[in-house]
């Protein structure tokens, strides 16, 4: 399998001197194409910071993030934004839908921002897979938490990204819905051949992954 995502000595420090906080220290990891990786760690262990850097949302203090062997931090700011909407799909804990757009529009947002013609058939397929076909014109505030997160998943999948980065996607959901959403997420990632990197502190959910990376105090302690 090809390596799709790789980090080299990735570090992120906040503050300086005595107040210096080493959120991420010398992280070296590799993710293969189509793999489902769970990053596990306690609260404050640096897993969210790591994920943000993997997706180019946050700049590292030092080190590299290579996506398909390309250093993403060598890109200019706007190039990075374009890279994100084409190559990366984000799923956040707080569903992060645009409140003024309906479900369909939220799902199409990254494609629309890219000025691409949407592959409607493909998107409809995702919507049906996620069982959202009856809610496509609903506004976010009329959806349940699970439905909102499924919309976010659909949005992440719709642009056919290489990697999906999920930051505690089930953090705001109860356990039954969590399992349902996770099952859908895993199933659709497999179905559409996408790589999935997910942060969680829930051992049960982590067990669904192909591989678990444990992070403690900003360091990878187990790959």
């Amino acid at each position: 399998m090809d390596t799709i995502l790789k980090t080299e000595n990735l570090c992120k420090y906040y503050g300086s001197g005595q107040n210096e906080v080493k959120a991420v220290q010398n992280v070296n990891l590799q993710v293969e194409n189509g793999e489902f990786v769970a990053i596990v760690g306690k609260s404050g262990s640096g897993k969210s910071t790591l994920l943000h850097m993997l997706g180019g949302l946050d700049n590292p203090t030092s080190g590299k993030v290579l996506v398909k062997n390309r250093d993403i931090f060598k890109l200019k700011e706007d190039e990075l934004a374009i890279f994100r909407r084409r190559k990366i799909g984000f799923i956040f804990q707080a569903f992060n839908l645009v409140s003024s757009l309906n479900v369909w529009e939220n799902i199409m947002l990254p494609i629309g921002l890219d000025g691409r013609k949407p592959d409607e058939e493909y998107v409809w397929d995702i919507i049906q897979t996620l069982d959202m076909q009856d809610r496509v014109y609903n506004m976010p505030n009329t959806l349940s938490g699970g439905q909102q997160q499924r919309t976010a998943i659909a949005r992440a999948l719709a642009a056919k990204p290489d990697i999906i980065l999920a930051d505690e996607p089930t953090g705001n959901l109860d356990s039954k819905i969590s399992e349902e959403v996770m099952a859908l997420l895993k199933m659709s990632a497999q179905k559409y051949g996408q790589t999935l990197v997910m942060i969680t502190h829930d051992e049960d959910i982590a067990q669904m992954a192909d591989r678990i990376i444990v992070i403690e105090d900003g360091r990878v302690v187990k790959q």
Binding site: L57, I82, V98, S99, L113, N138, A159
Partner: protein
């Protein structure tokens, strides 16, 4: 209690940006309200103080009364302080000079005492007191008290001029009216008056005040005074009323107060909306926090108090500062405005101090009221929060639309969706901004519509110069001043016109003829001959009677009366035929002509068309007016050459358009200044409103922007989105403002014009 205050203060400290925005808004509001109330106070106080100085302290004057009338009035208890004044003679000069007698009481009532710069008022027959300008027009420069001057004067049109020697006993200041009308008068003694005017011809103007025992109000004053006059046997039409003095003497300044109240209400409404917006949007961010407070047991009442105290603690900073600044701004501007006014008016206003607890307290109270109004809704929302709802609060939680059938994508779709979601709030913002723009446009329009050129063109109808005949109709002592005799050797003739046309730089010369009309009783009147351009122009500008048309008027030779307002009063009616004699000085022609209409006001009694004039068979050289046009750069030189042409002509008046225009501009300067000041006020409020809307819109949607960037929105796209939203607001504001503002401004101007305050 302490806990609540503490939370409120801490909240303010934490939301520093919001706190500063609110303080600035409150500060500005208080400044504006203080300025307005101090101005209202100053205007009223100043009018009370200055009414007497400007208008004199007489209530009314009876014109054309005899000594007997005056002694009759003296007997009545309703009148007090009766002063006598009388016209004594006209002085021969290039200008308009006359001699008047004022007794001591009349001098005091009309502020003539204050005009004395040096010396004293005349007592013996050969003494005179006048302004330096009077003497200058009479041919004496640098006159000092004790100097002797020789003046030729006559009491009426039936007397000959007589030379008399006067000793200058006093020098007076010129009055406003004198300067504006270019007519100056000198004061002489009672002795001189008695010598000059025979007793049977002597008529006086009696200035008087009304005793305190007479009950009257501003509205009834005129009626009461006229009734009193009639009781003394003096007809109503010979009574003049000193309206302005009476107004300020009897009225507490209701008009000023109500005008200021309207402006203040507008300021309060706008400011309340601005402050409310800031609080409301801040509240959306903090709703979770309030929810938590409620969850741990804070009551709704306590939450109301927290929001109230947050607002009032900011007001406690903004209001005193605003009141202080406002007072100083008002005092400074007011003094400046009075200085400006004093520099262009002869009547000098006394400056008054605006420092008074009343207007400032009113302003402070109004500011507190504004903040309270702004806090009302946020207080209610904070109190009504349910903790559960607060945890998942989104501003549009009550959004009507649960389903929207659209498939917008991309930036354009985002913009459309964003605007549609907050439609109500967006429309409200656009309308508030629109309304302040409307006010801005209305006032700007108002200022723009003050047309000095238009006013000046009423005096000098065409070109840069007006050369007109200076004639009389019934001068028996000097018949050479009468029109028929001037026309015999008209100083405005073909020869002169050719000379003017030949002056280098003259671009256009236009003339108008005038001639004499004798009515059936042989009374002399004048008639002007209008060409098509002037005729049509007159029709658009003034009140007209009859269905007037240049061609028809030319064909039927109809006469049009020049004083439409007196048409019926003077016994004319449309369609009448009148038997008249027309004259160009040399020959009189008897004819019957139809009266076909009347126009607003022209300088002559009648007007006819050029075609009609040609049919009368009169001389072709009865020119009464020449208008000369030239380029601006040649104006001064040509002015000199024209004056040269008419150097020795007594019967010529030369008026320069530029001078008339300048006078008109000076007289509207105060209105302009005040309007500009108000424009700035509205501009500041409008700007605050807009800045606030933009800042808060960005602040509240920070999270959304972050997420949009996370899913791949570029900086450029974000900019486009924000700019497009701004454009919608701008275009909406401009549209709503121009659609309402321009017509409203025009209506206001029309109203002002109709009511004579412009």
């Amino acid at each position: 209690m302490k806990v609540i205050t503490n939370i409120a203060l801490k909240n303010n400290r934490k939301n520093r940006t919001r706190s500063i925005l609110v303080i600035i808004s409150i500060l500005l509001t208080t400044i504006l309200l203080t300025v307005i109330s101090c101005f209202a106070y100053g205007m009223i106080k100043s009018q009370k103080v200055n009414a007497e100085a400007i208008y004199g302290s007489w209530y009314g004057a009876l014109n054309g009364v005899t000594e007997d009338d005056i002694s009759e009035i003296n007997k009545r208890g309703e009148f007090k302080n009766i002063g006598r004044a009388a016209y004594a003679a006209e002085v021969m000069s290039d200008g308009n000079l006359s001699l008047y007698f004022f007794d001591e009481t009349a001098r005091s009532l009309t502020n003539t005492d204050d005009r004395l710069k040096r010396g004293r008022f005349p007592e013996s027959a050969n003494e005179i007191a006048a302004s330096e300008e009077f003497f200058a027009v009479a041919g004496y420069d640098n006159v000092q008290t004790g100097d002797t001057v020789i003046l030729s004067s006559r009491a009426d049109l039936n007397s000959k001029y007589e030379e008399e020697e006067f000793v200058v006993c006093g020098i007076l200041a010129e009055t406003d009216t004198e300067v504006n009308t270019d007519t100056y008068s000198a004061l002489i003694s009672e002795e001189y008056l008695k010598n000059k005017v025979s007793e049977e011809n002597q008529s006086y103007i009696a200035y008087f005040q009304v005793s305190d025992s007479v009950e009257m109000t501003t509205d009834s004053a005129e009626e009461v005074i006229k009734e009193l006059a009639v009781k003394c046997g003096i007809p109503e039409d010979r009574v003049s009323i000193n309206n302005y003095y009476i107004l300020w003497q009897l009225d507490p300044g209701i008009e000023t107060i109500s005008t200021c109240a309207i402006i203040a209400i507008m300021v309060i409404v706008f400011s309340a909306v601005v402050i409310y917006n800031i609080f409301q949007i801040g509240l959306v961010q903090k709703i979770r926090e309030y929810g938590k407070l409620k969850a741990i047991g804070t009551t709704g009442r306590q939450l109301r108090k927290i929001v109230f105290r947050e607002g009032m603690s900011l007001a406690a900073v903004g209001i005193p500062l605003g009141a202080l600044l406002g007072y100083f701004i008002a005092e400074g501007t007011y003094t400046w405005l009075i200085d400006q006014s004093n520099s262009i008016n002869v009547a000098q206003y006394e400056t008054v101090s605006l420092l008074n607890i009343l207007p400032i307290s009113v302003a402070i109270l109004l500011s507190v009221l504004t903040v309270w109004l702004a806090l009302k809704k946020p207080m209610r929302i904070a109190a009504g929060i349910s903790p559960v709802e607060a945890m998942r609060y989104q501003e549009d939680i009550k959004g009507k639309h649960s389903v929207r059938k659209r498939k917008n994508t991309g930036v354009a779709g985002l913009i459309r969706a964003g605007l549609a979601q907050n439609r109500k709030r967006n429309v409200a913002t656009i309308l508030t901004m629109g309304v302040s723009c409307v006010l801005f446009i209305v006032i700007a329009n108002f200022i723009g519509n003050i047309d000095n050129e238009y006013d000046a063109r009423k005096e000098v109808e065409h070109g840069q110069f007006e050369i007109s005949l200076d004639y009389r109709l019934r001068d028996t002592a000097y018949p050479e001043n009468n029109l028929e005799n001037i026309l015999l050797d008209n100083p405005i003739n073909e020869d002169v016109i050719e000379k003017i046309k030949a002056i280098d730089g003259v671009t256009e010369v236009k003339t108008r003829k005038i001639f004499l009309v004798y009515d059936e009783n042989g009374n002399k009147q004048t008639c002007a001959v209008f060409d098509r351009e002037d005729f049509d122009n007159e029709l658009t500008q003034s009140k007209i009677l009859g269905d007037l048309d240049y061609d028809i008027a030319g064909e039927n030779g109809g006469f049009i009366y020049g004083w439409a307002n007196f048409f019926d009063e003077n016994g004319y009616s449309l369609g009448d035929t009148m038997k008249i004699a027309v004259s160009d000085g040399t020959q009189n022609v008897d004819i019957s002509v139809p009266v076909i209409g009347a126009v607003g006001s022209i300088d002559q009694d009648w007007l006819i068309t050029e075609e009609a004039y040609n049919k009368l068979g009169l001389s072709s050289e009865t020119y009464g007016y020449i208008w000369v046009d030239c380029a601006e750069k040649d104006r001064e030189r040509i002015s000199g050459e024209i004056s040269e042409l008419f150097l020795d002509e007594e019967h010529i008046d030369i008026t320069e358009y530029s001078e008339v225009l300048e006078t008109s501009r000076l007289s509207t300067r105060m209105v302009r200044l005040a309007s500009y000041a108000f424009l700035i006020i509205i501009g500041v409020i409008g700007f605050m409103n807009m800045a606030n809307t933009m800042i808060t819109s960005v602040i509240t949607r920070r999270q959304e922007y972050g997420m949009l960037q996370a899913v791949g929105m570029t900086k450029r796209q974000l900019n486009i989105m924000l700019q497009a939203e701004g454009m919608v607001f701008t275009v909406g504001t401009v549209l709503s403002a121009s659609v309402i503002g321009i017509p409203l401004g025009y209506v206001l101007f029309k109203y002002g014009k109709a009511n004579g305050f412009m």
